[in-house]
Structure formats: C-alpha cells, structure tokens
C-alpha cells in the first residue's frame, strides 16, 4: 500500500485557488497558535526560575532604541504582507537596504 492520501479534487469554497489561500491561512493560524503557546510556556518557565516577572513583562513599555527596533520590524512586516498583492516589481536597491531587518 502506498500510504498516500490525495488532496480533494474539488474545491470546498467554490474555486480551487480560494481553497489554496484558505489552506495557507489556516496553516498560518495553526503556526501562530503554536508560537503563542510556546511563548506562554516560555514565560511561565522563566517566571518559575525567577528570570522574568510576567506582570512586569506585560507592563513594560519599550523606549528608545528598543522602541525604534520594534517599529522598524513592524512596518517591514506590514509592508511585506499587506504589500504583497500590490508589489509590481522589486529592485536591488530596496532589497539591499533591508540588510538589518531581523
């Protein structure tokens, strides 16, 4: 036996491409949850070892360099994701400037 299950031949949402996008979306949602679960467990373990205080973590307001770093990363993410359907081209100069983005 090949032990292989085929993907369904027909779409569930009217169009195969729409199913594709929803499959990606749901996969990402799963990945997002796995990460949130992990961060929560991580915080819990660090707190138990008295490395991190979870309340202090929630109340912490990033300032200065850290705030700038977060802003930079955030807008890069927004640009990548929200901008994906609108990007008509890409060029070397813009890409090279992204060297520091994490």
């Amino acid at each position: 036996m090949s032990r292989t299950v085929e993907r369904p031949a027909r779409p569930y949402l009217g169009q195969m491409e729409l199913d594709d996008v929803m499959r990606m979306n749901t996969e990402l949602l799963a990945e997002l949850w796995i990460l949130r679960d992990r961060v929560t467990v991580l915080e819990h373990m660090l707190e138990e070892k008295k490395v991190v205080d979870r309340k202090a973590l929630s109340d912490f307001v990033p300032q200065g360099e850290l705030a700038k770093e977060l802003e930079r990363e955030r807008s890069a993410l927004v640009n990548r994701v929200a901008g994906a359907p609108h990007a008509k081209s890409y060029d070397f100069e813009t890409l090279a400037k992204q060297a520091e983005i994490g």
Binding site: M1, V5, Y12, G14, M22, L29, A30, W33, I34, D37
Partner: protein
Amino acid sequence: MITLKQRGRAGLQFLGSLQHYSSSVLRDQAEADFAAQPEAANLAEEFNSDVGPSVWRERLGRAREVVERSKAYRYNRFYQRWVGEQNYIRAIPATEARRAEWQSLVAAKAPKDHSRLQLDPNLEMPSWYDGVEWHLEPGGWDGYDLTQPMFMAGIGPHVFALGGYAAVDVDCNIREQRARVVEQFRKRDMKRIYEPGCGGATTLGVCRQQFPDAELIGGDLSPALLRGGHFISEMLGLDITFRQEDCTKVAERDNSVDGVISYALHHEMPPAVTEKTLREMFRILTPGGEMVINDPPPFRAVNPLQAVVLDWDTDNRAEPYFSAAASINLAKMMREIGFVDVEEYALEKRGYPWVTRGRKPS
C-alpha cells in the same frame, strides 16, 4: 502513556479548537441559513420517510444544493476536511518523535501472556476493506505501527475528545456515550460477551466495568488494533480475548454467547456484509441472548442538514460505506433475520448514539 513535544501538542490542540468552532458556531449558522430557505420545510417532511438507496441519493442531492447556499456551511466543510487531513499530518511526525520512548515503554510493559491474542496471518482481508485509508489515515488501520500512541496521546485527547466530527456531536462526552450504549443491554446476567469489529479494548473495557465477571471476546480484521487492545487489556487486567477474524465468520460456536455489542462498525462495511454479520451474530447468540448496536443514525432519523453532513463523510473523509449504511434499516434487517423485541432510538441529540437492539427468541 507518552506525552508529545510542545509543537505536536499545541498543533493538535489547535485542530481540536478549530473543529469545535466549525462544528458549533459555523454549524449553528448553517442550520439557521438552511431553516430560512423556502425548500426547508418540505425537505424535512420528505426526509422522515424510509426509502431505498437510490431515492436517498436523489433526495440528498437536492438537499445538498439548498444546504450549500450557506457560506457558513461551506466554510464548515472546508475546516472539517482540513482538520481531517491535519490530524495525521500533525500527529504522525509528533508520534514519530517519541518512537524511542514508546518502544521502551512497550518493552517494559509488554504482556508476557499471549494466550489472549489470537492472530491469524493467513486471514484473507475482504476486498472491500483492503486498501481503504479510513478517515484519511495514510495506509488505513494498519498503515502505522504507532497508531495506538498516535491516538491515545495525540488525536484522541486533543481533537476527538472535543467532538464535532462525523456523527459525533460537539461537546458530547464520548466516554460516557460508550457507557450509556453498553447500559442498553436489558439482560444484565451475562456470562459471555462478543464484540465484532472491536478495534482495541475501548468498548470491551466499558463492558468489563458493567459486567465484571463476564468472559469478553473481541474480533477484528486489523492486527495492529488487536495488538493495541491486547496491550491495554493486559496492562489494566481487563482479561479480554482478542481474535483476528472476519465478523461474518467467527470462531464462536452456535448458541454460545449471551451478549453481542457492535460499536461504530456497520458504517464501515457494505450493507450486504452487515447482513451477513447480523446473521452470524444471531447464530452465536444463546436463545434469549441480546445484541446491542451503536452506529451513526440512518438518514431517515435526522434532519436534512444532518443527513447531508453524514453523507459528506463518504467522499470527503474516506468512509466509502457511510451513505450506503445510512440508507438501510438495521431494525428491519434484524427482524427479518429472526431477532425479536427489536427497538431503535437515539440517546442524544442529532441522532447519535443511534441504538438498535434485539433479542434472539428464547
């Protein structure tokens, strides 16, 4: 039992939550959308009467067209299928990561006594069964040697326990359901109980609680499931005998068991095989002995939307005989074979568990 790594655990728990959402919020919306359709009342009326398989196909086709107008229903089906696939896509790697732990646990606890596990390497698998990847599991029941920990540590507690798949309603307690089904035996002084298609030790384990002194025997085609059942049974001291055999031709003698329990079996076989199985169970029952069946409800016992949902499993969740099984009348079949005091009824909402029970005349 083993536990999974964080990634596997959290991923499967996500599937449980998604299926729960899909089977409650989206499902309720789909019900409301269906009820608002002009055809709904007539379809509901029509679905009450018992007809043959070809008429059911035609009725279901019309009902599906109406049901699929609901966007909530279409998303609900998308998620049901996705979770159905992902159960294995996530649980197989997660279980594989624990192979060494599982194997050392098995080595430490492996049953010494094999007299209660009777495998038959020469048993021919029926052609209608062989090669089916049941429930979208690669390779079907015998496709994965770690199928037992995959269910017990993964899919079972994290996904199935929340309900909301096939005939199992969301938020029901599948453990309690099993106990309630076994309680449907009117006869309580059992000496020997047989379960055709027992899989593992789940239903017979419940029988052990309710019938502490009875001899329990389970038959199944799948060696992997029988081995798993034997392992659990020996570990918990349930004292169950597992035998690899086709339930249309079992090793029990005529008039030798006083109870037969069949749990979630008939929807996984063609109706002709169900009929043969019932005849075989009638043969082995003692006069006055009783058979209790739990299976998904027939189409005639549920509303059109639920019928469309059950029918969907046939082509979308690798259940090739689901629709054929839901089109037949088990109670009628039992009466024709000679069972008496035959009754059929649902124990909970949406028609499941659907119990059919009958007695062999004294």
